[in-house]
Amino acid sequence: MICQNCSKNQSNYHFTKIINGNKTEYHLCEACAREKGDIVQGPGNSFSIHNLLSGMLNIEFGANVSKVRAAETRCGTCGLSFNQFKKQGRFGCADCYEAFGTQLDPVIRRVQQNNTLHAGKSPYPRTTENDAKPSLASQLAALEEELQAEIRNERYERAAVLRDRINNLRQQLAGDGQGFSGSSSANVTSKQWPHFHAEEGE
């Protein structure tokens, strides 16, 4: 097959791009593929999803949103700007999600088929005052179920860990009623994050 771009060379690179079920095929020679920057060295890699994603983000924001406002939004923790995020399609740290705030909503909606709320598992019970008690109780029930399963499977070391967590939760439930305070004593608390900033790109 002849390269679609220069119509001269044999095409050695065949790309298939599928976005939401729309399939586009490209057949390029090595020179043209390189020129387009679509070759990522390595096994079986071609179009990077981040290139595609950042392309989509730019189309979306380039026209509609005030560039000045967007450019000024910066994550206070890692220093990544919203524009840098758009360019690379990746966040710099967990706090970027808070920092970019509502500007992120359309991005999330777009890549997550209009979903905006998490519906899966959680590493800890809900912490709002209203549902602290029920979720503590349900957490307790889930842990107890897990404990029984571990005992049945004779995994006693893990069962012992679960038993301690259950005891902790029971104490909290019986205690001040303020709910789970966040990290348990088992958590490894890492050192204070040293101050650092993202390299300013072009």
């Binding site: 065949h14 298939t16 599928i18 939401n20 079920g21 399939k23 990522v40 390595g42 096994p43 079986g44 890699n45 071609s46 179009f47 990077s48 999803i49 994603l53 923790t77 890692c78 990544l80 690379q88 399609g89 990746r90 966040f91 710099g92 740290c93 967990a94 999600y97 808070e98 992120l104 991005v107 999330i108 890549v111 997550q112 088929q113 209009n114 979903n115 905006t116 709320l117 998490h118 519906a119 899966g120 598992k121 959680s122 590493p123 809900r126 912490t127 897990e146 995994r155 070391e157 893990r158 012992a160 860990v161 348990s184 958590n187 490894v188 608390t189 890492s190 050192k191 204070q192 040293p194």
Partner: protein, 353 residues
């Protein structure tokens, strides 16, 4: 560490799984990050090293250690070829192999679990099983995640779930996938329609090595597109139902061809078998196609002398990384094609004599 790069076949692949005529393997991966560190793309060397330390300590001190004897495989200690081979065995991702050197994979003895550290996210917990076992695979990944989360401070927020480097993974951070062999669907030209209808359900298909890779030898990887707004169980269920559909359609297509075009199909299968038994040089694309034909023949009961497990082994054996790693040096295409044909011949003849 050496064992991961010596054998083409991972232990978990030695037993054929359920529905292995269509489903080669099932995989679940969870993306997780630590709250107090920049994501890997922005992390300094010191950050990245500290993350590696925290994760391996967590794997070491939790009850995980009792059950899984993880070996830490630092990327900095692997050659390019060794990394390539681990990618071909699906033990690490291309991203981890190409990325910065302050990265590692914690791999268990049977190679069914790999925890990648400092990939695109701080942690990528991956569990893999032969055949169609999505629920079991999810249970395994979830268990490891629960054990690690007792030790690590995960980045999580109530509204958006687990926070990830890329917004396409936020929420559950889960990617549920199956690797499927679809010669019947391809031969009957049904692939495009299936791709389209699955896309509407949020199920996407791509080549064997995931993101952006080409589909060789009629092998595809099918996975969920979104990670937010649905529970892990709902996404596992979605992929389970999609896979069940795919199995039905694929088997129906195979039976249809066997009824309507029996002789041309036999001709195609036995020609490919003959080629693999006698070829002196074979490139990757042709090898993949011929192996697909032979796999189809085995699954239809036409080539009973070839054990199924050989075919899974040959999927890795025919890859350039494995071939060069066995030789211990980089080779050009000419040499690789010679060596590939030779290894295929050896493997197949062993079972004919």
């Amino acid at each position: 560490m050496k064992r991961f790069t010596e054998d083409a076949l991972s232990d978990w692949m030695r037993q054929p799984g359920p529905e292995h005529d269509v489903v080669i393997s099932s995989r679940v991966r969870l993306a997780r990050n630590l709250r107090t560190f920049p994501f890997p793309s922005l992390a300094t060397k010191a950050h990245a090293q500290e993350v590696m330390q925290l994760v391996s300590t967590a794997a070491d001190t939790s009850s995980l250690k009792e059950e899984q004897n993880f070996t830490s495989v630092p990327m900095s200690q692997l050659s390019i070829l060794e990394k390539k081979l681990l990618v071909e065995k699906h033990l690490i991702s291309p991203h981890l192999a190409e990325g910065n050197s302050e990265a590692a994979a914690l791999i268990n003895a049977s190679e069914s679990i790999s925890i990648m550290v400092n990939e695109e996210d701080h942690l990528r917990i991956q569990c893999i099983a032969p055949g169609f076992q999505l629920n079991e695979t999810w249970q395994a990944a979830n268990r490891i995640d629960n054990q690690l989360q007792e030790q690590l401070d995960y980045a999580f927020n109530e509204r958006l779930g687990y926070l990830t480097s890329c917004p396409t993974n936020v929420g559950t951070g889960i990617r549920v996938s199956v690797m499927v062999h679809l010669p019947g669907i391809v031969l009957t030209n049904q692939l495009q329609n299936i791709l389209k209808s699955f896309a509407q359900w949020g199920v996407v298909m791509r080549g064997m090595y995931g993101e952006g890779s080409e589909a060789l030898g009629n092998i595809y990887q099918m996975s969920n597109q979104i990670t937010l707004g649905q529970s892990e169980e709902a996404l596992v269920d979605l992929l389970t139902r999609a896979t069940q559909q795919l199995i039905l359609v694929e088997r129906e297509a195979r039976n249809g061809i066997l009824n309507d075009r029996r002789l041309p199909l036999l001709d195609k299968i036995f020609r490919s078998f003959g080629t693999l038994l006698y070829a002196q040089m074979i490139d990757k694309v042709e090898a993949a196609q011929r192996l697909s034909d032979v796999r189809l023949g085995v699954d239809l009961g036409l080539l009973e002398q070839v054990p199924h497990v050989i075919l899974d082994e040959l999927l890795v054996v025919t890859q350039p990384g494995y071939l060069q790693q066995m030789e211990g040096r980089l080779m050009d295409d000419f040499e690789i094609n010679l060596r590939r044909a030779q290894l295929i011949r050896e493997r197949l003849w062993k079972h004919l004599r």
